[in-house]
């Protein structure tokens, strides 16, 4: 396809198209996810259809052949689903979801102009086609036609396969702007021909806002025109309906143009009038039946070409009989020869064997780019590998203890450790997805919100390829949406204010993602007005969030924006500031095992940093010792740890201890009292206090005996393996085979503490009570 015509003139809109595509695909992704899990309604299906349809239309405009081909087949299937010819079942849903993936990849490839594997997506396209063919045959069968009839005579032939592609090919051809191409295939005559045209409009013609005068004008341009007005149908004035049509015309047109071009003039009205068009003196080579074929290169011609070509393809099965195709089954003959060809044509211009046997072989050989697996299976795999990691750690430890010096065994153990770790990473990677699916939704959000607020905002994104566990990705959309809304509403100034501040009128929001260790770092940075600490502080004072005499560091002041119910907006807009604030964002992030930080410079901008674990299946934890027990504290919630002086710890009148750091008092939680651990350090100043932050931003000190070090642990659900336990979010198995409980910081402060010194038992093992259990009956947790 040449780049002439629209390729060149419309190339400037390509960027818009891909931007639109990314929005469409992000939206589509969500809908397809729903499609997989439930039967979706007509509206949802319509939206999916529209998404694919839009991509196809744009792809057509930019001559993205393989994208057009694939989306055409995809669209056909969705269309049939819409009108009920194909009913949704698991196979259909799977095919549609796969098609969504292929579509996204083809769009990405087109955008970066990078080649895709020649037969990429061919398997999916074939499956779509197979579904269409089956539905087509069903319809044919239902209509009473013998299914063994040749494909050409099947009454309900699917709209795609060869004909679909032929149609695309035809429309491609029709784009060639040169006029002669329009008449290709029509024998030309330069000699003048006289045509007689009888034109009797019906009332519908006017109802469609067509205008005989315009038609006459067009005819005039084609040659010498003689017009006769026939008013024989004109009724008496009293009977006249101003909306009816009473005039008719007879034209005699002398022209060197082909008849098809004359017919074209009437193309929009031929259903709304009685029209006869015939040469008065037939000219050689003119085919009266040629009608409006190839007329505009815009309308009918495409379809007609397509139909003509479809006919050719339909005829192919007969020809295929002559080919060395061993398949004799008529059902196969109706489908197979055309299908792989069509698919290959749709996907890439590679030759594909037409014989069905060879096609199957090719299919088997074709590289499968992705498979869709039940998440449950992956979860099981993740679990098993978790067990393996634990077992490996146990073995390593035992080996260390028993065969301290056996080199061979140690080397084997090291190797096993490496392999296990690699295996774990591989398995975790199965659930990894690029954050793109979440990021993609943001450009639209930015556009909508900034339009609503009359602000100019540019969104710059990077690191969309960064991968995170699927479970995490789903939890990211809400916080990010909220933060971006906030950034536009509160961060970015109005264009006027920006100009006044010496900034460009257009604000910039940068969203980026990157891997750092076992976390993903997401930065959201705006170049807006920044956080006004004085105002923030004044507001926090007014709302009673902080005490009047509190001395806060800059970081602590900035942190106030995460306080519940705190909004920095001066006015409540309909975009944000309704009280659902950054506190909710923080809670969401913390629930993910992550944390959020803010840095800001007044007048320059604000930068939020989200640190989020790559997966919810493993946790970076700090192992702490309390007596003989070990507990795990999620690393992300730890702010600092310190050994307090005796003077820093005070006991409140109503019981309970507090620790003071830099003038601030924090509630002190003594784990040994909550979990009733024997032989633990009872005086906090002899142990360590770990300052942690809860999701709501509350800070508490946790008194433990000592810190044993940080470690990645595989999370085991207590709920599934035992019983929910208050104050405990899960368990893990340490290298020595012992169970360690993972502390649920959120709930720790709500638990009753036993009075110091009172001990109910001296049982072994980690002790914790199921929530419903009476406090006096400690239970040993069985691993």
């Amino acid at each position: 396809m040449t780049t002439g015509g629209q390729g060149g003139e419309y190339a400037q809109f390509k960027a818009t198209f891909f931007e639109e595509c990314s929005e469409i695909l992000a939206d589509l992704d969500g809908r397809l996810t729903r499609l997989q899990s439930e039967a979706i309604d007509a509206e949802e299906l319509n939206a999916i259809f529209r998404a694919v349809h839009s991509i196809k239309a744009g792809a057509g405009a930019f001559n993205l052949g393989s994208l057009v081909g694939f989306s055409h087949t995809f669209e056909a299937l969705l269309d049939w689903m819409r009108d009920g010819r194909i009913t949704q079942n698991e196979r259909v849903a799977t095919a549609v979801v796969h098609a969504g993936d292929v579509l996204a990849t083809l769009v990405a490839a087109a955008q970066t102009d990078s080649p895709v594997e020649p037969d990429f997506g061919a398997d999916v396209a074939e499956e779509l086609q197979a579904l269409l063919d089956e539905a087509g045959r069903r319809a044919a069968g239902a209509a009473g036609a013998a299914p063994s009839a040749t494909a050409g005579s099947a009454p309900a032939r699917p709209p795609v396969t060869a004909s679909g592609d032929a149609r695309d090919a035809a429309s491609d051809r029709s784009e060639t702007p040169a006029a002669p191409a329009l008449d290709a295939g029509i024998t030309h005559t330069d000699s003048l021909t006289c045509y007689r045209i009888d034109f009797v409009p019906r009332a519908e013609l006017f109802r469609h806002a067509n205008e005989p005068l315009l038609l006459i004008g067009e005819l005039q341009r084609l040659g010498t025109l003689e017009t006769t007005l026939r008013d024989d149908r004109l009724p008496a004035l009293a009977d006249m309906d101003p909306e009816d049509a009473y005039f008719a015309w007879t034209f005699e047109l002398v022209t060197d143009r082909p008849q098809s071009e004359i017919a074209e003039v009437f193309e929009f009205v031929d259903a709304d009038c009685d029209l006869t068009l015939a040469p008065v003196l037939p000219a050689a080579g003119e085919d009266a039946d040629d009608d409006d074929a190839d007329g505009w290169g815009l309308f009918e011609p495409d379809a007609q070409d397509a139909e003509a070509e479809a006919g050719d393809h339909d005829a192919e099965p007969h020809a295929a009989g002559a080919e060395p195709s061993p398949t004799a089954s008529p059902a196969a003959a109706t489908r197979t020869p055309a299908t792989p060809e069509a698919v290959a044509a749709a996907i890439a211009p590679t030759a594909r064997p037409t014989a069905s046997g060879a096609a199957n072989a090719a299919q088997a050989k074709s590289s499968v780019s992705s498979i869709r697996v039940d998440l449950g299976r992956v979860d099981r795999l993740v679990n098993m590998v978790g067990e393996l990691v634990i077992t490996q750690a146990m073995l390593a430890q035992q080996l260390q203890e028993s065969h301290g010096g056996d080199r061979e065994s140690i080397r084997g153990s090291d190797e096993l450790a490496t392999l296990t770790r690699e295996l774990q990473e591989c398995v975790m990677a199965i659930r990894m997805q690029p954050v793109r699916s979440v990021f993609q939704r943001m450009p639209r959000l930015v556009r909508e919100v900034s339009a609503k607020l009359d602000k100019h905002v540019r969104l710059v994104m990077s690191g969309e390829q960064t991968e995170v566990d699927k479970t995490v990705i789903e939890e990211l959309a809400d916080p990010l949406t909220h933060m971006i809304r906030n950034a536009i509403d509160h961060g970015i100034e109005t264009p006027e204010a920006r100009i006044a501040a010496g900034k460009p009128p257009e604000g910039t929001i940068a969203l980026s993602a990157a891997h750092v260790g076992s976390n993903i770092l997401i930065h959201l940075e705006d170049d807006g007005r920044g956080i006004d600490r004085e105002r923030l502080l004044a507001k926090a004072l007014a709302k009673g969030i902080i005490a009047a005499d509190a001395k806060l560091s800059d970081e602590e002041i900035d942190d106030l924006i995460f306080s519940p119910g705190f909004s920095t907006a001066e006015t409540v807009t309909d975009v944000s500031g309704r009280g659902v604030g950054m506190d909710v964002v923080r809670r969401n992030i913390v629930n993910l095992g992550g944390r959020i930080q803010v840095q800001s410079q007044l007048g320059k901008g604000t930068r939020f940093t989200l640190v989020i674990p790559l997966t919810l299946a493993v946790l970076d934890g700090m192992v702490v010792a309390v007596g003989a027990e070990k507990y795990i504290l999620p690393l992300t919630s730890i702010i600092e740890s310190f050994r307090p002086d005796k003077g820093q710890v005070s006991t409140l009148a109503g019981g309970g201890d507090v620790a003071s750091i830099r003038g601030q008092f924090y509630r002190l939680v003594q784990l040994h009292r909550i979990f009733d651990v024997p032989s633990a350090i009872t005086e906090p100043w002899r142990g360590i206090v770990v300052l942690v932050e809860t999701a709501s931003g509350e800070k508490i000190g946790i008194a433990v005996d000592e810190l044993l070090g940080q470690q990645q642990v595989v999370i085991k659900s207590l709920q599934e393996n035992y019983d929910p336990v208050a104050g405990i979010s899960g368990a893990t198995i340490l290298g020595n085979g012992r169970v360690a409980l993972i502390l649920d910081i959120e709930n720790l402060t709500r638990l009753p503490e036993r009075p110091a010194g009172r001990r109910a038992d001296a049982g072994r093992g980690p002790t914790a009570r199921p929530i419903d259990e009476p406090a006096d009956v400690p239970l040993a947790l069985s691993a």
Binding site: Y10, A61, H208, A209, A271
Partner: protein, 123 residues
Amino acid sequence: MARRVLAVDDSKTMRDMVAFTLRGAGFDVLEAEDGVRALSVLSSQSVDLVITDINMPNMDGVTLVRQLRAKPNFKSTPILILTTEGGEDKKADGRAAGATGWIVKPFAPDKLLQVVNKVCPGR
């Protein structure tokens, strides 16, 4: 006075291309994202021609055509529908609703202008 066209399409790419082509040929172009917005634009402004996509959220093109034709002041406004691959049944739907003609996507600039001039020639 320049002829004024309302381009209705949910795809910004398509709107941009239609608007670009028509503006280049001296038309005034208004834009709307779907049928509902098109109606609201047309409630306050008059146009010489409406070009509308069929598949759109909120209100599709066929419904838009039907609603416009039901309004006395849009009885004789030409309306072109944009269709992909020239689906006959879609064209028939549009025609039944009262559309004047159709344009098949993708379109070349000169073809678009040709069709527009066909139903809405300059004065």
